[in-house]
Symmetry: C2
DNA sequence: CATTCATATGCAAATATTAGAATGCCTGCA
DNA sequence: TGCAGGCATTCTAATATTTGCATATGAATG
């Protein structure tokens, strides 16, 4: 649950516009499937599939209320990730100080001859 | 650069084991392509493809040193994301307090009849 | 118990992603 | 020049993902 491949699976699951939108909505509170239909322009079966994918990834869960399924956030990873995604970044990281060392030598220059 | 679709593209680009490994290595410093070959068990052209994808996503860049291409981190988003990915999460978020309100009514109960 | 509402599932087509093989392009050096 | 090292590009086959459509399920209602 904490190794690289499961991280990758989680990232893959989230890397989809509808699923990010679903998760962002769920950070605001519980929603059922028909609630999502009001702001997602995709079909109900498609919403169901995305919810199913998010649930199998362990990111969300639901409780049953009569004929409704009320979905809510389950994984604490999701709010943290969404926060980073919403953060505004201006500019780039500072470039590398010349000249860092790797296993093969120093850059630039030492490998040139 | 900050809308939903670009977030998705960035996530898709990163959601791959080789690419996460590359980015994690780059947080330690500059590396050239042959450096990556030493710890990634994939072919050189494949590494090149991944580096190209990361570069087109604006996450990394390189400078040329003779016949070497020295890659380094460019986007400040990457370290933040990797930090979240490396964080250990134990347990789930607290379940929803009964009963939150949506556009359609309160859960559970109000829709039942 | 038939119906309706809310949601899920199965299947197939369209599309996207990935890895590998072959090859091409620079750069530095003899 | 000619050659070799370091890296990129292109093409292709395999595989995975996504969606729409049709249909199934299951709880509440009458």
């Amino acid at each position: 649950m904490n190794d690289l491949s499961s991280k990758v699976e989680t990232m893959k699951t989230i890397a989809h516009p509808a699923r990010i939108a679903i998760l962002e909505e769920l950070t605001k509170g519980v929603k059922c499937v028909s609630d999502f239909q009001q702001f997602l322009e995709i079909s109900q079966p498609n919403i169901s599939q995305h919810l199913s994918a998010l649930r199998h990834a362990g990111l969300i869960d639901f409780f049953v209320d009569g004929r409704l399924r009320c979905y809510f956030l389950k994984s604490p990873f999701v709010p943290d990730l969404l926060e980073v995604l919403q953060k505004e970044y201006k500019g780039d990281l500072p470039g590398p100080e010349c000249c860092p060392v790797t296993k093969k030598g120093t850059y630039p220059g030492s490998r040139r001859h």
